[in-house]
Protein backbone atom coordinates (compact mmCIF):
# COMPACT_ATOMS: atom_id res chain seq x y z
CA UNK A 1 0.00 0.00 0.00
CA UNK A 2 1.68 3.17 -1.14
CA UNK A 3 0.76 6.35 0.60
CA UNK A 4 0.98 9.64 -1.18
CA UNK A 5 2.18 11.99 1.51
CA UNK A 6 1.64 15.68 1.08
CA UNK A 7 4.74 17.01 2.81
CA UNK A 8 4.34 20.19 4.82
CA UNK A 9 0.84 20.86 3.55
CA UNK A 10 -1.04 20.34 6.80
CA UNK A 11 -2.76 17.54 8.60
CA UNK A 12 -3.62 14.66 6.30
CA UNK A 13 -4.11 10.91 6.64
CA UNK A 14 -0.35 10.40 6.64
CA UNK A 15 0.02 12.82 9.53
CA UNK A 16 -2.66 11.00 11.54
CA UNK A 17 -1.02 7.65 10.81
CA UNK A 18 2.30 9.05 11.99
CA UNK A 19 0.53 10.18 15.17
CA UNK A 20 -0.93 6.69 15.57
CA UNK A 21 2.52 5.13 15.26
CA UNK A 22 4.04 7.54 17.76
CA UNK A 23 1.13 7.13 20.17
CA UNK A 24 1.32 3.34 19.96
CA UNK A 25 5.07 3.46 20.61
CA UNK A 26 4.59 5.80 23.58
CA UNK A 27 1.82 3.65 25.08
CA UNK A 28 3.90 0.54 24.60
CA UNK A 29 6.88 2.21 26.31
CA UNK A 30 4.75 3.61 29.15
CA UNK A 31 2.36 0.67 29.59
CA UNK A 32 3.97 -0.50 32.82
CA UNK A 33 3.90 3.00 34.28
CA UNK A 34 0.23 3.45 33.35
CA UNK A 35 -0.65 0.14 34.94
CA UNK A 36 1.37 1.10 38.02
CA UNK A 37 -0.58 4.36 38.30
CA UNK A 38 -3.78 2.33 37.88
CA UNK A 39 -2.85 -0.07 40.69
CA UNK A 40 -3.51 1.99 43.82
CA UNK A 41 -6.69 3.65 42.52
CA UNK A 42 -7.90 1.49 39.65
CA UNK A 43 -7.89 -2.13 38.55
CA UNK A 44 -4.31 -2.24 37.30
CA UNK A 45 -5.10 -2.76 33.63
CA UNK A 46 -4.89 0.68 32.02
CA UNK A 47 -1.45 0.22 30.47
CA UNK A 48 -2.13 -3.21 29.02
CA UNK A 49 -5.61 -2.18 27.83
CA UNK A 50 -4.33 0.91 26.03
CA UNK A 51 -1.41 -0.94 24.51
CA UNK A 52 -3.68 -3.70 23.22
CA UNK A 53 -6.16 -1.20 21.82
CA UNK A 54 -3.62 0.94 19.99
CA UNK A 55 -1.73 -2.01 18.55
CA UNK A 56 -5.05 -3.34 17.22
CA UNK A 57 -5.92 0.10 15.85
CA UNK A 58 -2.58 0.43 14.08
CA UNK A 59 -3.07 -3.01 12.52
CA UNK A 60 -6.60 -2.10 11.39
CA UNK A 61 -5.32 1.09 9.76
CA UNK A 62 -2.43 -0.72 8.09
CA UNK A 63 -4.78 -3.34 6.68
CA UNK A 64 -7.21 -0.87 5.16
CA UNK A 65 -5.72 2.60 5.28
CA UNK A 66 -8.42 5.29 5.13
CA UNK A 67 -7.61 8.15 2.78
CA UNK A 68 -8.63 11.05 4.99
CA UNK A 69 -7.43 12.15 8.44
CA UNK A 70 -11.02 11.92 9.68
CA UNK A 71 -11.31 8.39 8.30
CA UNK A 72 -8.19 7.27 10.18
CA UNK A 73 -9.45 8.76 13.44
CA UNK A 74 -12.88 7.13 13.09
CA UNK A 75 -11.32 3.72 12.40
CA UNK A 76 -8.95 4.06 15.37
CA UNK A 77 -11.88 5.06 17.59
CA UNK A 78 -14.02 2.15 16.48
CA UNK A 79 -11.16 -0.30 17.02
CA UNK A 80 -10.47 1.05 20.52
CA UNK A 81 -14.11 0.53 21.53
CA UNK A 82 -13.96 -3.11 20.50
CA UNK A 83 -10.51 -4.00 21.80
CA UNK A 84 -9.62 -2.03 24.93
CA UNK A 85 -12.05 -3.74 27.31
CA UNK A 86 -12.01 -1.02 29.98
CA UNK A 87 -13.72 2.34 30.32
CA UNK A 88 -10.91 3.98 28.35
CA UNK A 89 -12.13 2.07 25.25
CA UNK A 90 -15.50 3.80 24.83
CA UNK A 91 -14.07 7.09 26.16
CA UNK A 92 -11.06 7.33 23.82
CA UNK A 93 -13.13 5.67 21.11
CA UNK A 94 -15.70 8.45 21.41
CA UNK A 95 -12.99 11.12 21.54
CA UNK A 96 -11.45 9.95 18.26
CA UNK A 97 -14.66 9.09 16.44
CA UNK A 98 -16.25 12.44 17.22
CA UNK A 99 -13.03 14.18 16.23
CA UNK A 100 -12.84 12.19 13.01
CA UNK A 101 -16.44 12.89 12.10
CA UNK A 102 -15.88 16.58 12.72
CA UNK A 103 -13.12 16.53 10.08
CA UNK A 104 -15.57 15.06 7.58
CA UNK A 105 -14.21 14.08 4.18
CA UNK A 106 -11.43 16.69 4.05
CA UNK A 107 -8.14 15.29 2.77
CA UNK A 108 -6.01 17.93 4.44
CA UNK A 109 -6.89 20.25 7.29
CA UNK A 110 -5.15 23.00 9.19
CA UNK A 111 -4.62 23.32 12.92
CA UNK A 112 -7.88 25.27 13.25
CA UNK A 113 -9.89 22.29 12.02
CA UNK A 114 -7.90 20.07 14.33
CA UNK A 115 -8.91 22.34 17.21
CA UNK A 116 -12.57 22.01 16.19
CA UNK A 117 -12.16 18.24 15.99
CA UNK A 118 -10.52 18.06 19.41
CA UNK A 119 -13.28 20.23 20.84
CA UNK A 120 -15.95 17.92 19.40
CA UNK A 121 -14.12 14.87 20.73
CA UNK A 122 -13.62 16.29 24.20
CA UNK A 123 -17.29 17.29 24.28
CA UNK A 124 -18.21 13.72 23.41
CA UNK A 125 -16.06 12.37 26.24
CA UNK A 126 -17.61 14.76 28.75
CA UNK A 127 -21.09 13.79 27.63
CA UNK A 128 -20.45 10.06 27.66
CA UNK A 129 -18.67 9.90 31.00
CA UNK A 130 -20.49 12.76 32.68
CA UNK A 131 -17.25 14.07 34.20
CA UNK A 132 -16.21 17.71 34.59
CA UNK A 133 -12.89 19.48 35.09
CA UNK A 134 -11.33 18.55 38.42
CA UNK A 135 -12.98 15.12 38.70
CA UNK A 136 -9.55 13.46 38.27
CA UNK A 137 -10.16 11.99 34.82
CA UNK A 138 -8.70 12.21 31.33
CA UNK A 139 -10.60 15.48 30.92
CA UNK A 140 -8.12 17.10 33.31
CA UNK A 141 -5.48 16.66 30.60
CA UNK A 142 -7.74 17.11 27.56
CA UNK A 143 -9.45 20.34 28.61
CA UNK A 144 -6.19 22.25 29.33
CA UNK A 145 -4.79 20.90 26.05
CA UNK A 146 -7.79 22.23 24.14
CA UNK A 147 -7.53 25.61 25.87
CA UNK A 148 -3.81 25.87 25.18
CA UNK A 149 -4.24 24.84 21.56
CA UNK A 150 -6.97 27.42 21.10
CA UNK A 151 -4.89 30.16 22.75
CA UNK A 152 -1.78 29.36 20.71
CA UNK A 153 -3.82 29.31 17.52
CA UNK A 154 -5.37 32.70 18.31
CA UNK A 155 -1.85 34.00 18.91
CA UNK A 156 -0.93 32.95 15.37
CA UNK A 157 1.28 29.96 16.14
CA UNK A 158 2.28 27.35 13.56
CA UNK A 159 0.77 23.86 13.70
CA UNK A 160 3.89 22.56 15.45
CA UNK A 161 3.80 25.40 17.97
CA UNK A 162 0.13 25.07 18.85
CA UNK A 163 0.44 21.32 19.26
CA UNK A 164 3.53 21.76 21.42
CA UNK A 165 1.61 24.06 23.75
CA UNK A 166 -1.28 21.61 23.84
CA UNK A 167 1.17 18.85 24.80
CA UNK A 168 2.71 20.87 27.65
CA UNK A 169 -0.72 21.82 28.96
CA UNK A 170 -1.88 18.19 28.86
CA UNK A 171 1.23 17.07 30.71
CA UNK A 172 0.77 19.74 33.38
CA UNK A 173 -2.91 18.91 33.63
CA UNK A 174 -2.12 15.23 34.17
CA UNK A 175 0.43 16.06 36.88
CA UNK A 176 -2.09 18.37 38.55
CA UNK A 177 -4.50 15.45 39.08
CA UNK A 178 -2.30 14.07 41.88
CA UNK A 179 -3.84 16.08 44.75
CA UNK A 180 -7.38 15.70 43.42
CA UNK A 181 -10.01 13.41 44.86
CA UNK A 182 -11.57 11.14 42.22
CA UNK A 183 -15.24 11.74 41.55
CA UNK A 184 -15.77 9.37 38.61
CA UNK A 185 -15.11 5.73 37.92
CA UNK A 186 -13.82 3.04 40.19
CA UNK A 187 -11.33 5.36 41.91
CA UNK A 188 -14.23 7.44 43.25
CA UNK A 189 -15.15 4.58 45.62
CA UNK A 190 -11.82 5.16 47.33
CA UNK A 191 -12.75 8.68 48.39
CA UNK A 192 -9.89 10.33 50.27
CA UNK A 193 -7.55 7.48 49.42
CA UNK A 194 -7.61 8.49 45.75
CA UNK A 195 -5.72 11.66 46.73
CA UNK A 196 -1.97 11.60 46.13
CA UNK A 197 -2.00 9.50 42.96
CA UNK A 198 -1.73 10.82 39.42
CA UNK A 199 -4.75 9.80 37.35
CA UNK A 200 -3.88 7.09 34.80
CA UNK A 201 -6.45 8.31 32.26
CA UNK A 202 -5.14 11.87 32.38
CA UNK A 203 -1.63 10.45 32.00
CA UNK A 204 -2.48 8.44 28.89
CA UNK A 205 -4.36 11.44 27.45
CA UNK A 206 -1.19 13.51 27.88
CA UNK A 207 0.79 10.82 26.06
CA UNK A 208 -1.64 10.93 23.14
CA UNK A 209 -1.48 14.73 22.90
CA UNK A 210 2.31 14.53 23.24
CA UNK A 211 2.41 12.18 20.26
CA UNK A 212 0.41 14.74 18.29
CA UNK A 213 3.08 17.37 18.95
CA UNK A 214 5.76 14.86 18.07
CA UNK A 215 4.01 14.05 14.79
CA UNK A 216 3.91 17.75 13.93
CA UNK A 217 7.56 18.20 14.83
CA UNK A 218 8.50 15.36 12.55
CA UNK A 219 6.95 17.15 9.58
CA UNK A 220 9.60 19.80 9.94
CA UNK A 221 7.43 22.30 11.75
CA UNK A 222 4.52 22.54 9.32
CA UNK A 223 4.76 26.13 8.11
CA UNK A 224 1.82 27.90 9.81
Amino acid sequence: MNDTPAPGSGIDATFVRRWLDLATTALDREADRLTELDSPIGDADHGSNMRRGFIAARTAVEQEPPETPGGVLVLVGRTLISTVGGASGPLYGTLLRKAGKELGEAETVGADRLRDALRAGVGGVAQLGGAAAGDKTMLDALLPALDALTGALDAGGSAAEVLASAASAAEEGAEATTPLRARKGRASYLGERSIGHQDPGATSAALLIGALAEAAGATGGGAA
Partner: protein, 130 residues
Protein backbone atom coordinates in the same frame (compact mmCIF):
# COMPACT_ATOMS: atom_id res chain seq x y z
CA UNK B 1 -41.08 -10.46 22.93
CA UNK B 2 -38.61 -7.88 24.20
CA UNK B 3 -35.04 -9.21 24.14
CA UNK B 4 -32.73 -8.71 27.09
CA UNK B 5 -28.94 -8.38 27.15
CA UNK B 6 -27.04 -8.51 30.44
CA UNK B 7 -23.63 -6.83 30.35
CA UNK B 8 -21.28 -7.43 33.26
CA UNK B 9 -17.52 -7.08 33.73
CA UNK B 10 -17.58 -10.75 34.61
CA UNK B 11 -18.77 -13.50 32.25
CA UNK B 12 -19.86 -15.68 35.17
CA UNK B 13 -21.81 -12.85 36.81
CA UNK B 14 -23.66 -12.11 33.56
CA UNK B 15 -24.48 -15.77 33.02
CA UNK B 16 -25.54 -16.36 36.62
CA UNK B 17 -27.81 -13.31 36.65
CA UNK B 18 -29.34 -14.42 33.34
CA UNK B 19 -30.01 -17.87 34.80
CA UNK B 20 -31.43 -16.40 38.01
CA UNK B 21 -33.74 -14.02 36.17
CA UNK B 22 -34.95 -16.75 33.82
CA UNK B 23 -35.41 -19.13 36.75
CA UNK B 24 -37.52 -16.62 38.66
CA UNK B 25 -40.00 -16.29 35.82
CA UNK B 26 -41.30 -19.69 36.90
CA UNK B 27 -39.43 -21.75 34.38
CA UNK B 28 -40.39 -22.51 30.83
CA UNK B 29 -39.94 -18.89 29.87
CA UNK B 30 -39.13 -18.11 26.30
CA UNK B 31 -37.87 -14.60 26.98
CA UNK B 32 -34.71 -14.19 24.91
CA UNK B 33 -32.00 -13.36 27.45
CA UNK B 34 -28.32 -13.40 26.54
CA UNK B 35 -25.36 -12.72 28.82
CA UNK B 36 -22.53 -10.57 27.47
CA UNK B 37 -19.94 -10.67 30.22
CA UNK B 38 -16.18 -10.22 30.32
CA UNK B 39 -13.67 -8.39 28.17
CA UNK B 40 -12.27 -9.03 24.70
CA UNK B 41 -9.60 -11.32 26.17
CA UNK B 42 -12.10 -13.29 28.26
CA UNK B 43 -11.00 -11.69 31.55
CA UNK B 44 -12.81 -9.02 33.54
CA UNK B 45 -13.90 -6.17 31.30
CA UNK B 46 -16.32 -5.28 28.55
CA UNK B 47 -16.49 -6.56 25.00
CA UNK B 48 -18.40 -4.47 22.49
CA UNK B 49 -18.43 -7.39 20.06
CA UNK B 50 -20.09 -9.67 22.60
CA UNK B 51 -22.68 -6.98 23.40
CA UNK B 52 -23.48 -6.33 19.75
CA UNK B 53 -23.82 -10.00 18.91
CA UNK B 54 -25.94 -10.67 22.02
CA UNK B 55 -28.27 -7.82 21.02
CA UNK B 56 -28.64 -9.23 17.52
CA UNK B 57 -29.35 -12.67 18.97
CA UNK B 58 -32.19 -11.53 21.25
CA UNK B 59 -33.70 -9.03 18.80
CA UNK B 60 -37.18 -10.13 17.70
CA UNK B 61 -38.07 -6.75 16.28
CA UNK B 62 -39.89 -5.55 19.39
CA UNK B 63 -37.01 -3.89 21.19
CA UNK B 64 -33.93 -4.92 23.13
CA UNK B 65 -33.41 -3.96 26.77
CA UNK B 66 -29.76 -3.76 27.83
CA UNK B 67 -28.73 -3.82 31.48
CA UNK B 68 -25.13 -3.11 32.46
CA UNK B 69 -23.25 -3.27 35.75
CA UNK B 70 -20.52 -0.63 36.09
CA UNK B 71 -18.12 1.79 34.40
CA UNK B 72 -16.95 0.44 31.07
CA UNK B 73 -20.00 -1.80 30.70
CA UNK B 74 -22.29 1.24 30.85
CA UNK B 75 -19.99 3.42 28.72
CA UNK B 76 -19.53 0.78 26.04
CA UNK B 77 -23.28 0.27 25.65
CA UNK B 78 -23.77 4.04 25.42
CA UNK B 79 -21.02 4.33 22.80
CA UNK B 80 -22.56 1.51 20.75
CA UNK B 81 -26.01 3.11 20.94
CA UNK B 82 -24.60 6.51 19.96
CA UNK B 83 -23.17 4.96 16.83
CA UNK B 84 -26.23 2.88 15.92
CA UNK B 85 -24.28 -0.33 16.31
CA UNK B 86 -27.07 -2.11 18.18
CA UNK B 87 -30.35 -3.24 16.57
CA UNK B 88 -33.02 -0.54 16.13
CA UNK B 89 -35.12 -0.36 19.28
CA UNK B 90 -32.25 -1.18 21.63
CA UNK B 91 -32.20 0.74 24.89
CA UNK B 92 -29.89 0.93 27.91
CA UNK B 93 -32.00 0.69 31.06
CA UNK B 94 -31.21 2.88 34.05
CA UNK B 95 -31.56 0.08 36.58
CA UNK B 96 -29.67 -1.93 39.18
CA UNK B 97 -28.10 -4.92 37.47
CA UNK B 98 -29.47 -7.93 39.30
CA UNK B 99 -32.79 -6.61 40.56
CA UNK B 100 -33.35 -4.80 37.27
CA UNK B 101 -32.61 -7.95 35.28
CA UNK B 102 -35.14 -9.97 37.27
CA UNK B 103 -37.80 -7.27 36.89
CA UNK B 104 -37.08 -6.91 33.17
CA UNK B 105 -37.18 -10.63 32.39
CA UNK B 106 -40.34 -11.27 34.42
CA UNK B 107 -42.08 -8.31 32.81
CA UNK B 108 -40.92 -9.29 29.32
CA UNK B 109 -42.26 -12.81 29.89
CA UNK B 110 -45.79 -11.35 30.11
CA UNK B 111 -45.41 -10.03 26.57
CA UNK B 112 -45.07 -6.44 27.77
CA UNK B 113 -43.50 -3.85 25.46
CA UNK B 114 -40.09 -2.21 25.87
CA UNK B 115 -41.46 0.79 27.76
CA UNK B 116 -43.09 -1.47 30.34
CA UNK B 117 -39.97 -3.62 30.65
CA UNK B 118 -37.85 -0.50 31.12
CA UNK B 119 -40.24 0.96 33.69
CA UNK B 120 -40.24 -2.27 35.71
CA UNK B 121 -36.44 -2.50 35.70
CA UNK B 122 -36.00 1.15 36.63
CA UNK B 123 -38.53 0.84 39.43
CA UNK B 124 -36.23 -1.75 40.99
CA UNK B 125 -34.16 1.17 42.32
CA UNK B 126 -37.01 2.00 44.67
CA UNK B 127 -37.21 -1.39 46.39
CA UNK B 128 -35.58 -0.52 49.69
CA UNK B 129 -34.34 -3.35 51.86
CA UNK B 130 -34.51 -1.51 55.15
Amino acid sequence: MVGIVLVSHSASVAEAVAALAAGLTGGGTDVPVVAAGGGPDGGLGTSSDLIASAARTVDQGTGVAVLADLGSAVLTVKALLADDELPAGSRLLDAPFLEGAVAAVVTASTGADLDAVAAAAEEAYTFRKL
